[in-house]
């Protein structure tokens, strides 16, 4: 076995890692306009593109008690027409600028997002401002969107992942607005044009809004442009809404959603956890990564690579603004629904009972810090990380210090986080599948409540 003269390549062992190179996140230019609009700019010049996101910190949660999903419907109709741009014009303008537009609302915010060619930066910003300030919310576009929404809901009600998520949120959040992930058809039918107009007027306002622009531009020129199109915008700040606290669930319960004819069982287990501002956030992130948050994690090795029960099981911590929750999901063949739950809880309990090994700890710390930092290498990654930081009002140096925060964590930190946030004794179990196939298995894990796919109790 000879190799070229000077280099002897050892083929049997993986090469060691070289010296690590520093990750440099783009510098941010921060400005708050006199109307309260917070502006964050980050230059990234690799590709001739820019991405802009305008966030309003009001989403479906603020209307959940009277019109679930109204923020989302408003967002859908916002993009259809403004005072100066007829419906077709907006879509043509987008294509002319090589751009894609999204208008969406989640639980906590509504957003106008645009990405297009840098050579059209000012046109792109103009369009965002026009939609934010001058949307005309036409009745006929609203009626069309409303009908599309109803059909979309009907499809969602046949989708196992949606049904599982809907039920878990109901169970975990009770009377809190986070319980509702989608409106009913009747609720959609009850929307009126004036409801959309009122939401738009009250919540699409500069005070408390965030404008993030990332890409190939000069910050100085961009700031001038932003001042020009958003500076004169004035509107009062919306009132904050106080919501009831989520219930504390005690004891495991099983929530079985019957989907006739299902050839697989969608398993979803979860419990309330924390938000990103909780001091435990990094600990939970690391514990999650070792438990089931990565390909190389205990649960994935167990139920996929050893037992072959499922294709893509994962666990995750889901932070919303006021509360967060932890969950684990797997789509498995019907015969092994109970066996899967057994392993999910076994691995949870193992995380709670014993410290992780030094190797697992080291590996998971590298994984999390590396994958977080990968975000710096793409426009979408930068937008994603920075929008989290500024929308959640995390410390300004959050992205720069993430790696060192993760690397400082110990096996004791992981154990403490698992004990506090992997609440295996009180976790709620959702199973979506054909009851004929899985009801017996479901009953092994606690009292079973059955639901139909329409969201009703059986």
């Amino acid at each position: 076995m000879s190799t070229p003269a000077t280099i002897v390549t050892n083929r049997s062992a993986a090469p060691a890692l070289g010296p690590e190179r520093p990750v440099a996140w783009p510098k941010r230019t921060l400005r708050t306009l006199s109307n309260g609009l917070q502006v964050v700019l980050a230059e990234s010049h690799g590709f001739p593109k820019i991405a802009a996101q305008l966030f309003f910190r009001s989403g479906n949660a603020v209307v959940a008690h009277r019109a679930p999903g109204l923020a989302e419907m408003t967002a859908k109709v916002v993009r259809t027409r403004t005072a100066s741009r007829p419906s077709r014009r907006i879509e043509e303008d987008l294509r002319r600028m090589g751009a894609d537009l999204g208008t969406h609302a989640g639980a906590d915010s509504s957003a106008i997002s645009i990405a297009g060619l840098a050579e059209f930066s000012s046109g792109l910003l103009d369009l965002v401002a026009d939609l934010a300030r001058n949307a005309s919310l036409p009745a006929e576009e609203f009626e069309r969107e409303r009908r599309q929404k109803v059909e979309e809901l009907r499809i969602e009600r046949t989708t196992p992942g949606f049904l599982a998520n809907e039920r878990l949120r109901r169970v975990l959040f009770g009377e809190h607005p986070y319980a509702i992930v989608a409106p009913t058809e009747e609720q959609v039918a009850a929307y009126r044009p004036e409801h959309l107009a009122a939401f738009y007027r009250q919540h699409y306002v500069p005070a408390d809004a965030l404008l993030l622009v990332v890409g190939d531009f000069s910050s100085e020129a961009m700031l001038q442009q932003i001042e020009k199109v958003f500076g004169s915008w004035k509107a009062p700040r919306p009132e904050a809404l106080k919501s009831p606290a989520p219930p504390g669930n005690t004891g495991r319960r099983v929530h079985l959603v019957h989907l006739p004819g299902a050839v697989q069982t969608q398993v979803l287990v979860g419990n309330l956890a924390i938000t990103r501002s909780d001091p435990d956030w990094f600990r939970l992130a690391l514990a999650n990564s070792i438990y089931g948050g990565a390909f190389h994690s205990r649960l994935v090795i167990n139920i996929r690579e050893q037992k072959g029960y499922t294709y893509s099981p994962r666990s995750g911590a889901h932070p919303l603004r006021e509360y967060g929750y932890f969950s684990v999901h797997a789509a498995v063949r019907n015969e092994v629904a109970a066996a899967t739950l057994t392993e999910i809880f076994y691995e949870m309990d193992r995380m709670r009972a014993l410290p992780v090994t030094a190797e697992e700890l080291d590996s998971a710390r590298s994984y999390l810090s590396g994958v977080f930092s990968l975000g710096v290498a793409t426009l979408d990654g930068i937008v994603g990380q920075l929008s989290t930081v500024y929308l959640e009002r995390l410390p300004e140096n959050y992205v720069e210090t993430y790696r060192e925060r993760i690397r400082a964590l110990t096996a004791e930190d992981v154990l403490a986080a698992a004990r506090r946030h992997f609440d295996s004794a009180n976790a709620q179990i959702v199973l979506v599948g054909d009851r004929e196939q899985i009801a017996d298995q479901a009953a092994l894990f606690g009292e079973v409540t059955e639901y139909d796919a329409q969201g009703g109790r059986k």
Binding site: F47, P48, S87, Q148, T310
Partner: protein
């Protein structure tokens, strides 16, 4: 002397390539702006060429490539990449199977070692095969058998549109075929197709070009090449009639229609024109199909389309997907679609519609190169296109020139392509018919 005309940026990607003594092509593209590298190995074998009686095997085999090689046992590939701070995956396509990693640049050598190890010698057993067969079946259930519109239309169209088995079979695999696969099949497939001379290695990101070439040589050059089978004939017999079929939709409530037109041969003038024509029809709300069917006539609640222009090397289609309201018949939806096609054929596309389509085409091309697979696989698209241009066209530098071909397409060419290719005897239509709807059509 600022001239706005010249300010239109044209991207130039640095690309260098070489071929090692064993036939492995190596393409590198350095970019030192962030301390990461993306590495890919693309083998020129996809589900089109999997053995008869073994539908789904190319994909099952892709799973086996993560089950262990000579010096990195089961889970070692995954552990070594994740613990380096990186991500990995693999996908099976029509004509290629790829394996790729994005890692901090200090793990470059480790990634190359891993990819070389499994190119040199896969080491798997029956237990691994049984395990991954189970995993793949759950993958098929979660993506196809237990989802509304699962597999629509990528699994529905080929058996209706095509006649040659490589193009027309079930790419995810019939369960009986998956069950029939043996460890011998795994060994044979590996020896037949997973040769350095049937692959391209791509290295992108934070490194010096000379360093990347030296590492490629060190880890890969002594992997022995082997003779490749003659290129299989994937040509389709001349189609003479419109082809139609129906597939039962078990869960979803709406009828869904897929209309596929076979694309002209790769790299021809017609191919460029067809790609632009596809973007005239689709490409979001400004596209003619969405505009007519969803916004104007409101027959459909969703209407979009696409074509695998860049990453296929055999028969492929421009595919339109329409989800229509139950109060309209599928025939009415198809008639409305046909009206759009007829207008393009008869009246052509005005210049002031075509120009913005090309601007968007350029923007989408840049976006694809920049990201392409979520926000955490940097330059996935650049890697993917470089691989396809190398394997299919023999020239990775096309990544910097191919755009010009699309931007040069004229309204006349678009109209001619519509007349020549958007015709019944070049198309197939499949309808996903909800069982819940009964006789309602």
């Amino acid at each position: 002397m600022e001239n706005t005309e010249t300010k239109v940026a044209r991207l130039h990607i640095p690309v260098e390539h070489t071929t090692l003594a064993n036939g492995l092509r190596v393409v590198v593209s350095p970019d030192r702006t962030a301390p990461f590298v993306t590495v890919g190995v693309y083998y020129q074998i996809g589900f089109r060429l999997e053995p008869r009686g073994r539908s789904g095997f190319a994909h099952l085999f892709e799973h086996m490539m993560f089950q262990g090689s000579e010096n990195a046992g089961k889970m070692e590939h995954i552990r070594l990449i994740n613990s380096s701070g990186g991500l990995l995956n693999g996908t099976t396509n029509y004509d290629i199977t790829n394996y790729f990693e994005a890692v901090p640049s200090n793990a470059l050598e480790r990634v190359l070692w891993l990819e070389a190890d499994r190119m040199r010698a896969l080491k798997v057993d029956d237990e691994n095969l049984r395990n991954q067969r189970d995993v793949v079946k759950e993958e098929v259930r979660v993506n196809v058998l237990n989802q509304p519109y699962g597999g629509f239309p990528w699994l529905d169209l080929p058996p209706i549109a095509f006649r040659n088995w490589p193009n027309a079979h079930n790419f995810y695999g019939d369960f009986t075929d998956l069950d029939a696969a043996t460890l011998d099949d795994v060994g044979t497939f590996f020896r037949t197709y997973y040769a350095p001379n049937n692959a391209v290695l791509l290295i992108l990101g934070d490194f010096e070009t000379s360093e990347a070439f030296a590492l490629a040589k060190r880890y890969f050059e002594d992997i022995p090449p082997h003779p490749l089978p003659p290129r299989a004939d994937v040509a389709e017999p001349q189609q003479k009639e419109e082809r139609r079929g129906e597939v039962e939709e078990k869960f979803g409530p709406l009828p869904a229609i897929a209309i596929g037109y076979t694309v002209p041969p790769r790299g021809t003038d017609d191919w460029y024109a067809a790609a632009i024509l596809e973007r005239v029809l689709h490409g979001g709300r400004a596209g003619r199909v969405y505009h007519r069917l969803v916004l104007d006539k409101q027959i459909a609640v969703e209407a979009e389309g696409s074509a695998d222009i860049f990453d296929t090397n055999g028969p492929t289609q421009i595919v339109t997907r329409i989800f229509h309201k139950p109060e309209f018949s599928s025939d009415e939806a198809i008639a409305a679609f046909d009206e759009i096609i007829r207008e393009v054929q008869e009246q052509g596309i005005p210049e002031d519609e075509l120009d913005p389509v090309k601007v968007k085409f350029r923007a989408d091309y840049y976006s694809m190169l920049e990201g392409g697979m979520g926000s955490y696989m940097p330059r996935f698209g650049l890697m993917h296109y470089l691989a396809c241009f190398t394997l299919f066209d023999g020239d990775p530098h096309r990544v910097n020139t191919i755009l010009e071909g699309f931007l040069a397409v004229t309204p006349k060419q678009v109209q001619a392509a519509a007349r020549k290719y958007l015709v019944p005897q070049n198309r197939a239509i499949v309808v996903r018919r909800p069982v819940a709807m009964g006789a309602a059509r």
